[in-house]
């Protein structure tokens, strides 16, 4: 396959690269990057302590020859930290780009609009990868004030379930997307995708056919940006022993965003309404063949935090059934003062009741007319948060950042509402950074968090469901080459998954040139749920050593 690709590449290069004076005039450039990760230690839980060792080596090389780009990634995992280990070439492509046309054969990722129909990407930290293998053509053209951007593609996707790597879903995808701006004020767009797939569940696999289309509208005038998109999905399952009759449900999703800006002020309001697979609670499953497909990844509509403790209790967005909104505002009343406010609320669309209590569970949906807005009623498993941050620079070389956040989530238990998981937190993080002599910098972070977690059954005492988390970090850096960082965290939680109450670690990073660095980590790290872009994974607590080497050659 690779030889054939090389042959085709050379042949194409021959034909298309300019021949001048009977001699090929070649602009050739090579760039490369390398990432090495090694970890060795223990993963702790309350009852077990397992050895955890991983080794990941990723080398990317890109060769530019005139209008061609040839890329290859060599990967050697022995084993990988998360996901499925690879030993060999895990990415290869040939791309030809000439003026407004781009053609790529091989591996690629793609994003249509805001990802309601297609958002293929890799998050290596969580072991998630929806890389496609096929052919993609893109045409982007500007005629004065008119802009057109169109893509068509076809390819295969082998998706290793990132939470259960042995389970592989296979898809063949054909799709297209366009956006057209006849005037600078307006943009209209659309996407169409058809896929055949195979979704295993235990020993039985279900073949599906899915068809998705999307329509978008954008409006941009001076200080106002308005964007809206609607996607519809139809799935047909082929009969098997699991589903003897074909299922043909339709699902849909909508996302809208309004941005208003003035000098020193910016406000964004996002609205999401995802109904790609509204099902009864007992049918919600990662192996449900009518679920949101792995290459669909719309906006989550919740803030993604960088503070350590604020990432401890993230919201898992359910693209099958979730409605909500988010307001995010930035305001800089002075050059040295910035404020950020974020408010969000999400919930399921409907409440469900067991209409056959006592014998076999039979869930029935309780309809409501205002299902296009989220509810704060516990029966809708609501999640809300409020966040306010202030950042102040004193004499340019001292920065103080402080925030306060309130988060609340409910995971409703229909059979026994008193057993619903309820988590409420109040968090106050603080960061102080001071630079001196234009080379050295000291950063101190102190985060305090007060938690109520109803899932804590310790002694069935309400007070013992309340605990606190405390995180401290000190970083000292010397530009341009050294960062030394120490972290200390402790908790009064009696039931932490690691069975510990204290965690301490240290990390040293040395940059041996502007784009090449080595980092060494040693210590204990608290585990927990980690989320990014709607993808969440439980990461076990770790106690050990890590090495990371990053190289870039351009």
């Amino acid at each position: 396959m690779i030889k054939r690709a090389l042959y085709l590449f050379l042949l194409a290069a021959f034909v298309f690269s300019g021949i001048t004076y009977s001699q090929l005039k070649l602009n050739v450039k090579v760039s490369a990057s390398n990432l090495l990760r090694y970890g060795n230690g223990k993963e702790n839980t309350i009852t077990t302590s397992n050895t955890k060792e991983y080794f990941e080596e990723l080398g990317d090389v890109r060769l530019f020859v005139n209008d061609f780009l040839f890329g290859v990634r060599y990967e050697y995992d022995a084993p990988i930290e998360f996901g499925t280990s690879v030993k060999g070439i895990s990415r290869r492509f040939i791309e030809y780009k000439k003026e407004d046309f781009t053609v790529r054969a091989g591996n690629f990722y793609d994003l249509y609009e805001r990802g309601l129909v297609l958002n293929a990407f890799e998050n290596r930290g969580l072991g998630f990868n929806t890389q496609l293998d096929g052919l993609r053509l893109n045409f982007k053209r500007n005629w004065n004030k008119v802009q057109f951007n169109g893509t068509i593609m076809g390819g295969d996707l082998e998706y290793n379930d990132y939470l259960n790597p042995g389970r592989v879903e296979k898809y063949t995808i054909r799709s297209g997307n366009f956006s057209f701006s006849p005037l600078r004020l307006f943009t209209i767009g659309g996407s169409y995708l058809t896929a055949t797939g195979n979704i295993p569940s235990g020993t039985i696999s279900t073949d599906i056919k899915a068809e998705l289309f999307e329509a978008t509208l954008g409006f941009n005038y001076k200080s106002i940006d308005l964007y809206g998109t609607y996607a519809n999905k139809k799935t047909i399952t082929l009969p098997n022993t699991l589903f003897t009759q074909p299922l043909t449900p339709r699902g849909d999703g909508a996302f809208a965003s309004l941005t208003f800006t003035r000098p020193s002020l910016g406000v964004t309001i996002d609205y999401k309404n995802y109904r790609f697979n509204l099902t009864t609670p007992n049918e919600r499953s990662a192996t449900n063949p009518t679920k949101t497909l792995p290459f669909q990844n719309p906006p989550t509509g919740v803030k993604e935090y960088t503070w350590t403790l604020l990432t401890r209790y993230p919201h898992i967005t359910d693209f099958n059934d979730e409605v909500g909104f988010q307001v995010d505002a930035f305001y800089s009343p002075k050059d040295n003062l910035s404020l950020n406010l974020n408010l969000s609320l999400s919930s399921r669309h409907y409440d469900y009741v067991d209409s056959n209590p006592g014998i076999l569970v039979k869930y029935e949906r309780v309809d409501r007319t205002d299902n296009f807005i989220p509810s704060t009623n516990d029966a809708f498993s609501p999640y809300w948060e409020a966040y306010l941050e202030a950042e102040y620079y004193y004499k340019k070389n001292t920065k103080i950042k402080i925030a306060v956040a309130r988060q609340s989530s409910v995971l409703y238990a229909i059979e026994n509402p008193a057993a619903s998981d309820k988590i409420r937190t109040v968090t106050i993080p603080l960061e102080i950074m001071h630079d001196f002599k234009k080379v050295y910098s000291v950063k101190l972070m102190a985060e305090q968090q007060w938690v109520y977690n109803s899932a804590r059954t310790f002694n069935a005492n309400e007070d013992l469901r309340k605990f606190s988390n405390h995180f401290f970090s000190l970083s000292i850096s010397r530009s341009p080459d050294i960062i030394v960082n120490g972290n200390f965290e402790f908790s009064t939680d009696e039931e932490d998954a690691s069975g510990k109450k204290k965690w301490a670690s240290a990390e040293v990073t040395y940059k041996f040139s502007s784009a090449n660095s080595i980092s060494l980590f040693y210590g204990t790290e608290r585990g927990g749920l980690k989320c990014s872009s709607g993808i969440c994974r439980y990461v076990n607590p770790f106690n050990g050593f890590r090495l990371t080497v990053i190289n870039n050659f351009n």
């Binding site: 050739v28 600078r184 996002d270 960062i483 870039n552």
Partner: protein
């Protein structure tokens, strides 16, 4: 097939005249939806491309410093373009953030990270300094307070060389 490949490789390389002035001419939209090509930016002078995201704190520190440097050297032809790598959820917030800070440099959207990956980016912040010909002069990975002095030195050097 194998022999033909070898012959093609041989002819290809022996007849080739190699140069090293490759410009990867991307085409990204700015915050107002205008299409911006790298070659358009290079018409003015050397270009610093800084890849960033809203969640990346060192990126924002680097951006604040590069904004100051840009104010000083923009009349000398220096162009600073902050290329945003946030995913779909934050596109609206990017404009909101930039306007609230009153930043005046070019901000481009690379939400699917195509340009970031083409330049070999692995972690944010990640920056590329290009001379007026579009050649990569230097690559920067990470940002430590104090790095701005070195960045400014490199920018002054590349401005001088471009004249």
């Amino acid at each position: 097939m194998k022999k033909l490949s070898i012959i093609l490789i041989a002819v290809f390389f022996f007849s080739a005249k190699f140069t090293n002035s490759q410009v990867y001419d991307f085409d990204l939209n700015d915050l107002d939806g205008n299409s911006v090509k790298l070659t358009q930016l290079l018409e003015k002078g050397p270009v610093m491309l800084s890849f960033w995201a809203l969640w990346c704190i060192p990126c924002k520190e680097e951006m604040k410093n590069l904004s100051e440097i840009y104010k000083i050297y923009q009349d000398s032809g220096f162009v600073y373009a902050a290329v945003n790598n946030d995913d779909t959820k934050s596109v609206g917030k990017v404009k909101s953030y930039i306007e609230s800070k009153n930043y005046k440099f070019t901000v481009l959207l690379d939400t699917d990270k195509k340009v970031f990956e083409t330049y070999g980016g692995q972690n944010l912040p990640f920056s590329i300094l290009l001379n007026k010909k579009g050649e990569v002069v230097k690559t920067y990975s990470g940002f430590i307070a104090g790095d701005e002095s070195k960045l400014e030195e490199d920018i002054i050097k590349v401005i001088k060389e471009s004249k």
